[in-house]
Symmetry: C2
């Protein structure tokens, strides 16, 4: 057991609660008062545990990527690129429409546009989105070397198209689309899939 007085709340549960708030209301739309009230602690405890609002968001974001957004790297492990993308979209819809948490993707809802004080958060989310796109691109590059995708396909272009639809799904989810509707969107999106040979 550590030295001093033991913490009276669970760090992970607190992070989960913070994640939900940031997810639903965005970085700017989530106040410290809302965070501390939802977690059930008071402000100094939050600061002692997480640093400040920005650091708390970053830790919540890391938690987001490890848990709800883990469907993405997992989907890319599918044996074929086509099945990877199908699983990617399937996982995205399942996450984005999960009634246990807000609709949409934190990488999009967190801070698309923001005031000057939240610029760094905005940029960080932008980088994370670029990271997701890069992961998809690398998967397609591998698919090309494996003959799974035609060699005349530009992996970067295809990846950018796929994640563009992905971010679009997040916007649609925020607008109240249903799961069935998003599935239809994905079906349309994949009709252009380049057949091998």
């Amino acid at each position: 057991m550590p030295r001093g007085r033991p913490r009276q709340f669970d760090l992970d549960r607190a992070l989960d609660t913070a994640l939900l708030l940031f997810w639903r209301h965005g970085y700017e739309g989530t106040s410290l008062a809302a965070l501390t009230e939802a977690i059930g602690i008071n402000v100094p405890s939050l600061y002692a545990a997480f640093g400040n609002k920005e650091a708390l968001f970053e830790k919540a974001l890391a938690r987001y990527l490890q848990k709800p957004a883990a469907y993405l790297p997992k989907a890319l492990q599918e044996p074929t690129s086509r099945r990877a993308v199908e699983k990617l979209f399937g996982g995205a819809i399942q996450m984005v429409m999960n009634p246990h948490h807000p609709d949409g993707c934190l990488l999009v809802q967190g801070a698309l546009a923001s005031g000057p004080s939240s610029e760094s958060i905005r940029q960080q989310l932008s980088r994370r989105r670029a990271g997701a796109e890069a992961a998809v691109r690398r998967r397609f590059e591998r698919a090309i070397t494996e003959g799974d995708l035609p060699s005349n396909v530009d992996a970067a272009q295809l990846a950018r198209y796929i994640v563009t639809v992905l971010w679009g799904l997040s916007v649609q989810a925020a607008g109240g689309a249903t799961r069935a509707q998003l599935k239809e969107v994905v079906e349309w999106a994949l009709r252009c899939w380049p057949e091998s040979v």
Copy 2:
């Protein structure tokens, strides 16, 4: 000339300035102080002219739909649905990448997620997005009756797919994508276009 002391600033120019700020920083990220400073007036003048922050945003939004976002209804006037969609995406890219104003679409950047105090703005933008989708859907329904699109195509589904890509383009633009990259995305998006007959 009206009765009292004449207004010392131009309403339309002020609205344009407000629009740019809301567009770049979102509704929540734009403070009254930033607005009045950018317009060059002080707060009571703004309130006398526009009501309050919410009303100002709504008027800026109306201006946005009439000017920068006018490409959408205009594109739908093209003789064929295919050319309408091509022009729609072309216009979107041109707007979303215009160096004279922020990257992205106000309907997406304005308030995707927000705090409780901006809920009504969020919902209003959501309704506007749904309105855009409905306009595209109606154009496709017309195309089906004209034989321009196969009758087995679901106009609502296709419209939802198209605007999903559209909102995705806005997110990509906010992430620093180039015009050429967005054009490639659109090219991929349209490979699935249902051929007539």
